[in-house]
């Protein structure tokens, strides 16, 4: 996201910069044109001025000729003819000059030609006047006539010159007007363009400073992140490396050196360098992995060993990935290496312990089984021998002896129950657990049948809500029912017929976060409620402990194994069992079984 934003920003700057350059070029071209126009205009003024002077000079030359002629006519002194003769040359020079000056002025050339004709005529008149004033050819009438024509011509010349001057003035005015028009627009335009350029430059300056600010922040973040990474690598016992496949350059993070037993940047890593540290037995794996990196541009997880300088062996785990910035040009492999020696050793220790535990567990189970089995043998014999004692045999011994004999009988019976229960308990643990879908209603009926004798004897009333079909180990669930119902029957009140109600509802595990596995969503909650003597709630946990009894065995026969078996069975089904009661208020045993 940020990368895209930065990209836009630099593009914007580029556009602003280009616009600014164009504006500057534009401004300089305008000012150049402006300068040139000014120059042209002054040039033009000068030109007009020159034409005017030349015209005046022309007039004055003719006037000189006229004055000279007049002087000669009056005095007949040859001296007065000199200016007249000079004036002709002057007029010609002025004329040539004017011809040059008006070369680019269309109307003026035409005017000049007319002027030239008039001036020629004027000189003819002068010639005639001189001729008729001469004593040789004096002719008063013709002289007067020539002088008269000369005056008219002179007036015409003057008019023509004035005309030309006027034309020139007009021309100048036109140009001036044009020029004024042009430069009246220019300053406003230039200033506004300049302002735009200024704004653009300010904008880009702001953008640049913003970018720099952001760059600073990013840089700071990067610095922090780099430091953090370094710290993390040290604490986490891992390192990072980069391999530029195109330039075949390898870069290690500081911790990579440390993991190899060096100080950071102790050497310049090359492709083969790393292999020097690899355990001889793992070199082949590493060489293959490097080949994989080059061919497939990735490094799947590998495990290998490193031999440090001091000879200690460390277990490493490495994984690498291609850095993809743009699709075509991805050639840098980023890798992580972990020093997993501690975990490796812990794992070995753990699996060792696990094995030991498994063995000891097996021994325990088989010991339990064998012990209770082998204990049965002598006990069975004791009981059989006792059963062989006839009434006559009993009469033959003393009363005290008979009493002892009865106690031996009772003890052996109790031992029988203990061993049977212990066997049952060990079997809940060790026998194969075949899970099948079973109807719990059927299992409940089986349990009731099993307990039929006691139920009849105690006139007990047992009812159950509809129970579900579940994936269970059937004989164990049946045993669970027998034990729980049997327990309720045993601890019933003397003067009250036992009523046992079995309830069943489906519940969500999230409503029982303390006791149920939250990965299983739904459980069946099966409750066994009785109206018996109940128990002190402080024993609600201990009653499930093996051999734990709340009553003396003289009051209530039992081994303290029954509820332990219940707990074991429920555990086998990944369920949970609890007991709640208050003395004299009956007890509730609750079994949660996963759906």
């Amino acid at each position: 996201m940020r990368r895209i934003f930065n990209f836009n920003s630099s593009n914007l700057l580029r556009v602003i910069f280009v616009i600014a350059v164009f504006i500057l070029l534009f401004i300089s071209s305008i000012s150049y044109k402006h300068n040139r126009d000014t120059h042209e205009s002054s040039q033009l003024l000068l030109h007009t001025f020159e034409i005017n002077i030349e015209l005046e000079r022309l007039i004055s030359s003719i006037k000189d000729a006229e004055i000279g002629q007049n002087g000669y006519i009056i005095t007949h002194n040859e001296r007065y003819l000199t200016p007249y003769e000079f004036s002709r040359d002057k007029v010609n020079r002025s004329f040539v000059e004017l011809n040059k000056l008006t070369a680019e002025r269309k109307g003026q050339q035409k005017n000049l030609k007319q002027l030239f004709l008039l001036i020629n005529k004027r000189y003819q008149c002068l010639e005639e006047a001189l001729k008729y004033s001469n004593s040789d050819s004096y002719n008063k009438e013709k002289l007067e006539n020539a002088l008269q024509r000369g005056r008219v011509l002179m007036a015409n010349i003057r008019a023509q010159v004035d005309n030309m001057k006027e034309r020139e003035k007009q021309f100048l005015q036109e140009r001036q007007a044009n020029y004024d028009n042009e430069i009246s627009l220019t300053p406003l335009f230039t200033v506004s363009v300049f302002l735009v350029a200024l704004i653009l430059i300010i904008l880009s300056y702001r953008q640049i400073s913003k970018d720099i600010e952001r760059l600073k922040i990013t840089n700071k973040k990067l610095l922090i992140s780099t430091k953090l990474m370094d710290e993390a690598e040290m604490i986490g016992n891992f390192s990072t490396w980069q391999w530029d496949l195109q330039q075949d350059k390898i870069h290690y993070s500081d911790n990579q050196f440390r993991l190899l037993g060096f100080s950071p940047d102790a050497f310049v890593p090359e492709r083969g360098t790393f292999l020097n540290f690899v355990h001889p037995d793992d070199k082949e794996t590493l060489v293959n992995s490097m080949q994989t990196i080059k061919e497939q541009k990735k490094l799947p997880l590998i495990y290998y060993r490193i031999v440090r300088q001091d000879g200690s062996i460390r277990h490493f785990k490495s994984i690498g990935k291609l850095l993809v910035e743009n699709e075509e040009n991805a050639h840098i492999i980023l890798g992580i290496s972990f020093d997993v020696t501690d975990e490796y050793e812990q794992n070995i220790e753990l699996s060792q312990r696990n094995k030991e535990l498994e063995i000891s567990n097996q021994e325990l189970a088989s010991f339990n089984h064998v012990a209770s089995h082998d204990l049965q043998e002598p006990l069975r014999k004791i009981q059989t021998f006792i059963s062989r004692f006839s009434e006559d045999d009993k009469k033959a011994i003393s009363v005290r002896g008979r009493e002892y004999f009865e106690k031996i009988d009772a003890s052996s019976k109790r031992m029988r129950v203990l061993i049977d229960d212990l066997l049952l308990f060990s079997r809940t643990n060790t026998t194969k657990k075949e899970v099948v879908k079973a109807n719990l209603n059927d299992l409940f009926q089986n349990a009731k049948t099993e307990l039929n004798e006691v139920i009849t004897e105690k006139k007990a009333e047992i009812n159950s809500e509809k129970l579900p079909k579940l994936n269970v180990i059937p004989y164990q669930i049946e045993q669970l029912f027998i034990n729980l119902i049997g327990n309720s029957l045993k601890y019933s009140l003397d003067n009250l017929a036992p009523i046992i109600h079995i309830g069943c509802v489906k519940v969500l595990s999230k409503n029982y976060p303390d006791v149920l596995n939250q990965n299983v969503k739904k459980y069946y909650k099966i409750t066994f409620q009785d109206n018996g003597m109940g128990f002190d709630p402080q024993f609600k946990h201990s009653i499930f402990v093996l051999f734990k009894r709340l009553h003396s065995k003289n009051d209530y026969p039992g081994t303290g194994i029954g509820l332990a078996i219940c707990k074991k069975i429920v555990d086998n089904h990944n369920g949970f069992i609890t007991a709640d009661s208050n003395p004299g208020e009956g007890a509730v045993f609750t079994v949660f079984l996963p759906e």
């Binding site: 069975r380 009981q383 079997r427």
Partner: protein
Amino acid sequence: MQKDALHILLADDDEDDRLFFKDAFDDIKVQTKVDFVHDGLQLMEHLNQPDVVLPDVLFLDLNMPKKTGKECLIEIKKTPHLRDLIIAIYSTSSSDEDIEDTFVQGANIYIKKPSDFNTLKKLINEVITLNWHYHTSGLNRDNFLLSLK
């Protein structure tokens, strides 16, 4: 069936058990001839004698030295002239595993050694008066283990 004396063979290493067994047979009113062997090896030797008179019922203990009852059972069922021998397993164990194994191997009935002499007599009486033909044809896992009604 009870033409002469019923011939019974008990293979059991326990002296006391053999004594109970003998006393129980002495007490019941059926004419029987009871022989004993002390271990599995002796049992197989006895059965493999060329002039052997095979017992009507073989009571076989499982936990015996030298050769266990289960090994004997497998060997007997493999031997052609012994294959039809009626075998009653007679053991202290009542583990599902033992019952299942011997049932699969072809024993005819399973008796758990009782801890009361009268019960023993009743069980033995039940076994020797059983109609074997009828029992064997309807044999299943449920009636394999003998229990008194």
